[in-house]
Amino acid sequence: MTDTDSDLDADANADVTDRRSRGQGADTSADVDGDADRNTGTLALTDVTKRYGETTALEDLTLEFRPGTFHGLIGPNGSGKTTLFALLAGLVRPSSGRIERDDAVTVGYSFQEPRFYPDLTVRENLEIFRGFGDDPPPASWIETLLAELRLEPAADRRAGELSGGFRKKLDLGLALVKRPQFLLLDEPLADVDDYSRRRIRAFLEDYRRDDRTIVISTHNVAAFAETLDRLTVLVDGELRFDGVPDDDVVEQYRELLD
């Protein structure tokens, strides 16, 4: 826990409930298996440092990602956000410190640079990655994702031939395809058109029901200002703030950077 954490815990929980009621996104409930997907797991870092040679990407970071929150991970370019996601996803190991992640916890990761099979179509990519789960969601979940992420027009096109926006949406779809309890989204709205942005934001707000956690990494705090339950600000690999965001998150972020 950081020193800002303890005195903000009670407020944070109250705020989560309050903000959730504002969610007016697409109804994904028809495809949700209820308690089976309920998030009771842990995803946290304790005293984590990550170095690449002489460069320190993250310094002594302690953070917890709580069930049911829309958690903003904000910071300027090069602040360590992507490294933090790579640690949480298990792609890199910390130089020191501990990452707590229950075995039962499922994590979906949408990368800053989309990652998919370029030779497969959008639909084939979704079907292949859905198959990785021991208990995958019903096949209709793929249709829901295609519709909600506005991927339907590109469903049968080879992923390698997609434009930037569709590539990003496919990557988001792949992060969601196993309907994970923790969703790590690295700049999820980059290259996405305005209409799709609104649809995706609404969909994600709805998705966090059943205590699912969404962690958004971005340097564009305004894009998710209205939806954040919790704010973590990283600057140069160090924790600048972790707690409940102010009403004016953009202004709060500016002040933290100053």
């Binding site: 190991r93 990652r115 370029p118 990655f129």
Partner: protein, 354 residues
């Protein structure tokens, strides 16, 4: 000025890709030239040749004959013709000299029999050279009047038939050492996502399984084409498939180990190209081990690819039991295991560097 700017860009790009440039412009040509050092001669002088004494030959007869054989080959003594014949089929030796007992008798005419294997077609012409050399060496070193008879064992084979297993082995080498690493590298961007869903070991195991099983297709094509051309080659025998499968496994594991040890960089593909050239040049695929030099023979005998080539050739062309090659198969299996361990270590290095 455009040209200057573009040349400057190329210089910077070379500096940025120094590892690739070193492999492509330094190690590959250097390796090719260094490899030529083992090709010393075109008349076989260091080919292993079996020496079998017939019942009435003495130790002295053998010693003198061995000295004669040394002039054109490397002699290896065998206790019985059967043992020597097996060695011929295993390509431990490429000729067998049967020595009669009366070679020390000045007034006798001794019939020395030299046996070769029909399956090793490219050695047919050089064998005649070796037989002539043998005759003159024996005449010079043995008191008896020497007459040399040349026998061949096995079914007569054409050069085309001989080249089918050799070509198939060459294909498997390119497929495992070049194509599979290229295919895995082409999917390098998705590897990060795959690692969030599965283990890298599992991803590579699926590649080895799938592309290993897919090898049945080119083998079937080779079998069908060979049958259409009227060749008598057993391309689809279980033993051939087992040898090719093992060969694919260890070569693919080595190719992938190089790929991951070099961080999935392009330079890994060129390093693997160097390995392919090494396999082709040093495994004695077409000419006998020792044909070009003793160093070439020593290197060949140390390479598992040499035994893969022999076993592939034998299962496709020779009518010999699989048990004759049991130790070769064991060696190939041990190589496959060691290659998989090397691949695992390369994956650990790759993941720890991140």
């Amino acid at each position: 000025m455009d040209l200057l700017a573009l040349l400057r860009k190329e210089t910077i790009a070379v500096r940025r890709n120094l590892r690739l440039v070193i492999v492509l412009l330094v190690l590959l040509p250097g390796g090719i030239v260094a490899g030529t050092a083992v090709f010393e001669q075109t008349i076989p002088r260091d080919v292993p040749v079996g020496l079998v004494a017939q019942e009435d030959a003495t130790e002295d007869d053998l010693a003198i004959a061995e000295a004669g054989v040394t002039a054109f080959a490397t002699p290896i003594q065998y206790d019985s013709p059967d043992e020597a014949r097996k060695a011929l089929q295993r390509e431990e030796v490429y000729l067998v000299v049967h020595l009669p007992g009366d070679v020390m008798n000045e007034s006798a005419t001794a019939n020395v029999t030299i046996v070769s294997d029909h399956a090793f077609v490219p050695f047919e012409e050089p064998i005649n050279e070796s037989v002539d050399l043998a005759e003159s060496e024996f005449d010079r070193s043995l008191p008896a009047e020497i007459s040399v008879e040349h026998d061949r064992v096995g079914e007569p084979r054409s050069l085309s038939e001989f080249l089918v297993p050799t070509g198939l082995f060459a294909f498997v080498t390119v497929y495992a050492l070049l194509y599979l690493p290229y295919q895995v590298r082409s999917e390098r961007l998705v590897l990060d996502r795959l690692q969030t869903e599965s283990r890298l070991d599992t991803v590579l195991a699926s590649k080895l399984l799938f592309y290993g099983a897919a090898l049945a297709i080119p083998v079937a094509v080779v079998a069908a084409t060979a049958a259409w051309l009227g060749y008598d080659v057993a391309a689809l025998s279980p033993m051939t498939l087992a040898v090719l499968g093992l060969t694919f496994l260890y070569l693919a594991a080595i190719g992938l180990a190089v790929l991951f040890a070099l961080g999935l960089r392009q330079s890994a593909l060129f390093a693997n190209l160097g390995l392919v050239l090494g396999v082709f040049g040093l495994s004695s695929l077409v000419y006998p081990a020792g044909f070009f030099s003793t160093t070439h023979r020593t290197v060949s005998r140390a390479l598992p690819t040499h035994y893969s080539a022999i076993t592939t050739r034998s299962t496709m062309l020779r009518d010999a039991p699989a048990s004759l090659y049991a130790d070769y198969l064991l060696w190939l299996a041990a190589t496959a295991l060691a290659s998989l361990v090397a691949l695992k270590l390369a994956l650990i290095v790759y993941q720890r560097r991140r």
